[in-house]
Amino acid sequence: MSDTLATWLERAAGFPERGLRFLDRAERATWLGWGEIHARSRRLAGGLLASGVAPGERVALVFPTSPEFVLGFFATLLAGAVPVPLYPPARLGRLDEYHAQTARLLLGAGCRLVLADPRVRRLLGESLAAAQPALGCRTLDELPAAAESAVAVAPQDLGLVQFSSGTTFQPKPVALSHRALLAQVRILNGFWPDSPELVHSGVSWLPLYHDMGLIGGVLCALERPGTLTLIGPETFVARPALWLRAISRYRATISPAPNFAYGLCVAKVRDEELEGVSLESWRVALNGAEPVAPEVLRAFCRRFAPFGFRAEAMTPVYGLSEAALAVTFSSLDRPFRSARFDRAALALGEVRESADGREIVSVGRPVPGFSIELREEGGTLTPPGHVGRIFVRGPSLMQGYLGQPEATASTLRDGWLDTGDLGFAHDGELYLTGRAKDVLILRGRNHAPEDVEQALVGLAGARAGCAVAASFMPEGGEREVLAVFVEHQRETANELRRSLPRRVSDAVLARSGLVVDEVHVLAPGTLPRTSSGKLRRGETVRRHLAGDLAAPAAVTWPRLAGALWRSRRALGRAARVASDPERRSIDARED
């Protein structure tokens, strides 16, 4: 069998009564059956080929959630080309940032043509001028009329390029083959086979330029073939109740969302918006794309149980765009599982259950075809009961980062993908504890810490180059918080030091559009560094959470001697301490 996304579309066209339904803000539906999608995409594919798009070339898609996105996506595939979905401008966003970012993404993926929504297209001028895609930018209506067409591709050919982080700093284009996409979709659909009693259908408000919305939503519906109801992300954010109402109205069984969305429903949905709503049909409420907060899950289950929501529907999952989406799934037929672990032990990388420890939610077991290894720094396997770096292997891994052999080589080795995430196995299930890779995850979207840190350049009172941005889930918190750790200059007026948090958060907001939750002003020399002087972001967070992030005290001989003596007695690691001057200065403050 040499199936591709194109052959799946051809097959789905035989089920014209199934397809995609688009709901607008007023809950009016626009129907697009698979048969119609197929026929119209074939015509548009002819137009793409007539415009000069050649098989294998990348075509950027800049559309809101709309029939046009779907038609542009499948037309690109039928032309044998590779879709690169990009996000449209944010509401009230800063256009100069958007242009710079979009230009970088277009260049990073080597896009030959941009297909855009007419409204978006009017704004793209600057991005296009900077990136200069060879074939320019067109709306679907502007493609030349041409005969229907379809170019066959092979399963190993590139099928999709998606970006792993939506920020300005070195975006990484994740290159996925048709084979990888098909494998991931088959894995997902294997979790919810249809039966005579139950035909599954989905509702999703997730952006279509995001793997969870595109692969987990549209492509899963394509393979079944099934019906999926789509809502624009901004419609959901403005009125989260519309998501739940759509699930009820169409008796949907599957609907995914990141942690923050469940919290938003608890905060914003009012009873009167749910008149007549029943969530009983909802079998699988996938929860992924960002860390899962147990409090949010409980609050959601409590809040919506009276409307028929079943606790066992809540399904925490783990995945990443480099694996085309899912890597682990928790069990579909029991409520979510969590356990408590000793904080101090975890800080040392050891796993010990403790009744009053930190609560962590299980993300379940590897999905079929995937295996997971936990490894130590040097690459050896982590002994049981310890935290390790998560490596995964499976049939849907990316080919690599497009045009970035070095980044690819450091992430994909011998068939294993280094996720950069940290976790441990407990009762056969995976628990995530943090990240070794430097990435901020905020509301399901990844950002580079450099974007935040660079906002601090030249800020009065801040020590140049001595700032760390990190996001993490605080204990008992409902979401990841964005924290900035910054060292003040040695000779700084108190006034300047006191105003630093406010100025840091203003500068970050202005530059990166992110709201900082916490600013920690630290004495010079507090931030942990490697022996070569590079800041260690992960270690900064670990020490912060362990309450262990303090400035080194001035090192004088008697203090140093005392510290050495204590640490020799307490920890029996005197040899290492004495031989390593960097360790010495850290230990010297342990009193």
Binding site: A90, R91, L92, G93, L123, V237, A238, G513
Partner: protein, 89 residues
């Protein structure tokens, strides 16, 4: 229906900021939206959509491109309302 005055639109925007963004201060026209209301992308979206809902207008990307301050937003809504009123009348 007469078109609301600038002051009325400002009061409406202030109500949105209070109800949906938890803004507690007084909303002055010269305040910069992003700084004063701490708007990240999610909060920008919330503000835009809630203002649209309240005044029953639709802001186009072109309208939004020039909006920097509270006053700019009020003016953009005012222009939309005037245009809609013109069509209706």
């Amino acid at each position: 229906m007469s078109t609301p005055s600038r002051a009325e639109i400002l009061a409406g925007v202030a109500a949105v900021a209070r109800e949906h963004l938890g803004f507690e201060g007084e909303l002055q026209p010269d305040l910069r939206l992003v700084d004063a209301l701490r708007l990240d992308s999610l909060r920008r979206l919330t503000l835009a959509v809630e203002v649209e809902n309240r005044f029953r207008v639709r802001l186009e990307p072109e309208d939004e491109a020039a909006i920097e301050t509270v006053g700019d937003l009020v003016a953009a809504v005012g222009r939309k309302l005037a245009a809609a009123g013109g069509e209706a009348g």
